[in-house]
């Protein structure tokens, strides 16, 4: 029996790669960095 192939995973890959590219293009990487280099008091349980 021939293996069942689906195009859905590849559609999702393209879609999320597009999301990733848009996010990077919008400057979200620097937002992540900005948050991550500061001590997160919420994560510690004191803020």
């Amino acid at each position: 029996m021939a293996p069942k192939k689906s195009t859905l995973p590849f559609v999702l890959i393209v879609l999320f790669a597009l999301f990733l590219a848009i996010g990077i293009n919008l400057g979200e990487v620097s937002s992540v960095l900005e948050k991550a280099i500061r001590v997160c008091l919420s994560c510690m349980g004191i803020g």
Partner: protein
Amino acid sequence: MPQLYGNRVMLILRRWIQILATVLSNAYWKFPFTRGIYQGNLKAVCVPGLNCYSCPAATGSCPLGALQNFMATLRPRFGAGHTHFGLYVIGMLGLIGSLVGRMPCAWLCPFGFLQELIHKIPSPEFEIPKPLTYIKYILLGLFIFILPLLAVDEFGYGITWFCKHICPAGTLEAGIPLMLLKPELRELIGILFHSKLLILALFLAWMVVSRRPFCRVACPLGAIYSLFNKVSVFRMTHDPDKCTLCEACYRDCPMGVKFYEDANHYDCIRCLKCYQESCRFGAISYEVAGIPLLKALERTAETDAPME
């Protein structure tokens, strides 16, 4: 007495990858001298597993923390003309999920690794009731998206609800070490810190008697990846003709999945233990994009019996 039916190459490889991922996610070893967290550019990259970005040794960002932060600051950012929706993080998680589903939980997550190590402590085994495994989806919807987005102050800022009220990884990796490194922070300890400490203690105790309780019950990151298990490029396959329903896969599964009922169950983390170690009948295999990469090994008790 359970026997080993395959070679253990994949299991040993997984263990080494888990160690490597944990070390690389926490490779800033100068923290005892700087008494602070790493602030380099690598922090712009989200790691695939649960690893608090305020851990003094952390070299990357936590995707859950980053995602909550995008939701919590979406309104004021939007008001200021910055259209930041968290697509960078959603895209990254979706891309990983589309490729391998929940596999990062088994191979790359430091907190998952910790749970496996703690469960090695000899103890009675308690199974986790199935209804509890749906809690992670409630936490994902409510604590990662809805509350950070909707419960806002007068300036439109929300808070990172999961980090603040629940995340035991944050308490273990950031709360406790930073309290030791920065004594001045101890003055800020209140009921919130104690409640998070209690949650951590409960999960640590639960890890001893149950398999990966945090992953199965409360991890929103695992919940995100699990949504892709049935549609990812990498998928597990089950051959019902070879399966004898012996339940060896279920007994060995670190997530308590009954593989023979659903080969791509939402809680399957693709550790491949069932494929490599449990099934002696070759009923378990996996495929990439619908193509079986490795044929199910025809393992029989006879051929796999230990050599004299």
